[in-house]
């Protein structure tokens, strides 16, 4: 299977795991989507470094865009890429993050270290959050 196919398949699997098998349903929660938005931003930055400098390179036959090498570096946007990385990486990241959070939340549900709970933020942060 190509990387493109695998990532699409992966998204279907983690979605099914979340909604039907583990029933954690994080995909229906605000806390997931807000934290995921933050994660995506930093993924674009860090993955941009990994792919932009050619630390990791992709085979053009496995992705929507074309392959790259030291002599033909990736484009910033376009050719199936965003911030140098193949757009498949966004789906790959989605699978990685969602699978992680499904297991994390599921463990909490069955009682594995539900405590100590997160929060509250320190007073300095709390003040900042309230002024927004």
């Amino acid at each position: 299977m190509t990387y493109t196919e695998l990532t699409c398949f992966g998204v279907l699997i983690v979605t099914a795991l979340d909604l039907f098998l583990f029933r954690t349903k994080i995909l229906k929660r605000r806390v997931f989507w807000v934290s995921y938005a933050i994660v995506i931003f930093f993924q674009l930055v860090t993955n941009g470094i990994l792919t932009g400098f050619g630390i990791v390179e992709y085979d053009g036959d496995a992705i929507i865009g074309s392959g790259t090498s030291q002599s033909s570096p990736p484009t910033f946007i376009g050719d199936g890429r965003l911030a140098f990385a193949p757009i498949e990486d966004l789906l790959f990241g989605f699978c990685l993050v969602v699978l992680t959070l499904i297991i994390w939340v599921w463990l909490g549900r069955i009682g594995v270290q539900r405590e100590p709970k997160a929060g509250p933020p320190r007073a300095s942060v709390e003040r900042f959050l309230r002024t927004k």
Binding site: Y3, R29, S35, G54, I103
Partner: protein, 111 residues
Amino acid sequence: MSKFAYLSVLLACLLGTAWLEYFLRTKVYRRIIRLTLTVAPVLVVFSIWDAYAIAQGHWTFDPRFITGVTLIAKIPLDEILFFIVIPICAILSFEAVRSARNWEAGDEDTK
């Protein structure tokens, strides 16, 4: 750039999220059993994916930028650490938002 380039990116991810543990009191590292039990299966699943992708040639690594250490199935050590570091960052972000906004995530005590 050196063979520690990939590792440096991972270190930046760890340092960039570590402050959440203190300032937002995410208490993720303090729940080390739950954290370990979460990361372990994720590491296994994604290492299998990575091994397949490397075997199929989906992606390759520039040897100048990675440590050169491989543990199993031709997966660079750097990649193995990626599948540990990124899940930790994801959980820290998730718990930080939860701390800041007090939103439910579904694992609260229901009684």
